[in-house]
Symmetry: C2
């Protein structure tokens, strides 16, 4: 496979620094908003493999991106477990049946991913066919801890008081919940890999809300289980796995020790420092502050170059933002970002 994106994750030679952007298929693109309007709500868009394919490919038409990422949501798994996912306009994800009792946790079981989440694998297949080998396709999941926060809180939270209350008071039930999530995620990612995903990424959006001991016990341990349980080699493909704990900059050594191929970094970590700490073990992905895209093209170009300058060496770096691209940025600035990554990394 000659893809720069895969090669960078595996620390093999690249022609230039590969780049993709979290939420690259998203609201900042007018064509995305049009398809979403056609689909109705967000979840219907995720569940319609043709439309999910359509939005996945949209950013590739505009920008010279080095990877596509499956269009889906991290909360498909709790939805398949019967929690009833919905999106209240302007309020983010919610569950009609959150886990409010220990009994509700006892009742949870691993869904049959092949049937209950068939729409995700279908989307992967459709996208893969439509990509025609143009760029690799990234599959993904939320981390067990991150999924658990939504399942116990019933939606987004600032303080995580319910899920942390459970964790501190009933660690046994917390582990039980995380374990069934990890097992489900292993099936889920393997399904995506079998359907054609070329790499996978685990988004641990809320691991950074924990202290070190709790992070290791309640988040990292279950990501480790997933890293060990998924296909790292499938047919003739090596499948790199990237772990991204937002706000996890203090624990890069521990994350790298899971045996993953790459670490996603947010912008609070300097790429050069991260490389000194763990660069021999893993590739690094990141880490421009998405807010830079609100500035002028000149500033975008300068800030992209600063990130590239921090990384020492020709490979082992996948350029990305440190978090998802926000809905109200200009697509023109996204183009400047992508083109600058390529031109500047080739000239270095």
């Amino acid at each position: 496979m000659a893809f720069d994106y895969i090669n960078a994750l595996l620390k093999k030679e690249v022609t230039r620094t590969p780049v993709w952007v979290m939420r690259q298929a998203g609201r900042y693109l007018p064509e995305y908003r049009a398809t979403r309007a056609k689909a109705g709500d967000f979840l219907s868009l995720c569940k319609n493999s043709e439309l999910a394919c359509e939005v996945t490919l949209q950013p590739l038409e505009r920008f010279d991106l080095d990877a596509a990422i499956l269009f889906s949501d991290i909360l498909t798994i709790p939805d398949a477990m019967g929690l009833g996912l919905y999106f209240a306009e302007g309020e983010g994800p919610k569950f009609t049946r959150p886990l409010t009792t220990l009994a509700s946790i006892d009742k949870l079981s691993k869904p049959d991913v092949g049937t209950e989440l068939a729409y995700v694998n279908d989307a992967v297949s459709v996208i893969k066919n439509n990509l025609k080998g143009r760029v690799p396709l990234i599959g993904f999941t939320g981390s067990p801890w991150t999924l658990a926060t939504y399942m116990v809180e019933g939606g987004a939270s600032k303080t995580f008081s319910k899920v942390k209350g459970l964790m501190f008071e009933n660690p046994k039930h917390m582990h039980q919940l995380l374990d069934v999530l990890a097992d489900t995620i292993i099936d889920y990612l393997n399904g995506q890999i079998e359907a054609g995903a070329d790499s996978v990424m685990i988004f641990d959006t809320w691991g950074g809300s924990l202290n070190k001991e709790c992070y290791e016990n309640f988040s990292l341990r279950y990501m480790q289980k997933i890293v060990s349980g998924i296909h790292r080699q499938y047919e003739d493909r090596t499948i790199p796995v990237t772990l991204f704990t937002k706000g996890g900059g203090a624990w890069l050594e521990q994350i790298a020790a899971t045996g993953c191929d790459a670490l996603g970094l947010d912008w609070t970590v300097e790429l050069g420092d991260a490389q000194k700490r763990v660069g021999n073990q893993v590739a690094l992905q990141g880490n421009l502050d998405p807010s830079v895209l609100y500035a002028t093209p000149e500033v975008v170009e300068a800030e992209v170059k600063k990130v590239l300058d921090q990384f020492k060496g020709k490979t082992g770096h996948v350029f990305n933002l440190g978090h998802g691209i926000t809905p109200d940025v200009s697509p023109d600035n996204m183009k400047v970002l992508v083109d600058t990554v390529h031109s500047y990394s080739q000239s270095k």
Copy 2:
């Protein structure tokens, strides 16, 4: 002065580890809710020095705390600058006249703290008189960067897109804004010290949203200016200053280098690690996850002891939470926290 709290901040000998808690005068206390109802809205409570004193002292009646902290809000300064602070129920702080243009920044000037913010100094004096030397009184401010985020965004934000857009695109205006805020804060803290505050703390709630370069240029630099500009010695009192950047665990060395006396830490940093990095320069304050207070008293006790065990040495540690106490915790657990800090640190 024989206060453990002050001595710990100055790394002098203590009889036991001192403890106070951010937002200790707050909604988790029924007596606070009663006084607040009497005052009307939150801002009226802050502006009424008798009632502000009343709520400041309430937690001291219940718990064996080692310090009182002025009851006020971090946004009094932008309010005095004419932005029109108000609190929409359940929505947090808002401004009627946020800084939406460069011209609005040009028009800002340093308010006369002695008149425009006289109510804050009055509250300090009234509290100080009522404390009768029982425990020291902490004065505080928000950091320039943190105040600026609210002033430019018009309220709370998740992405800080407006203020970061300004920072990246018009750094000159951003610096101008931060500079007038830093100058005002110097007057503001000096006013509190002159009115009787025994120590001061700078809350940099949103510094952790920045990358390292921006943190140093747009947040830390202005806290440094404040540290250098305030009374560190006033009459016969040494006034310790504590800096707290939430999410700033990666930059402890830089924060300590400002010459402050102590660092506030959130729970994502281990106290032992922090001490290894900067412990000879500064005292450390923190850092229990406030969510522990949702668990049983037994768990609270165990987790408090874990924090105390991480700190090596008899002094230089002020026990606190890693963020404010949340509104829906049990005051009984707060008592367990305070009593455990004292009994366990005395027995060590």
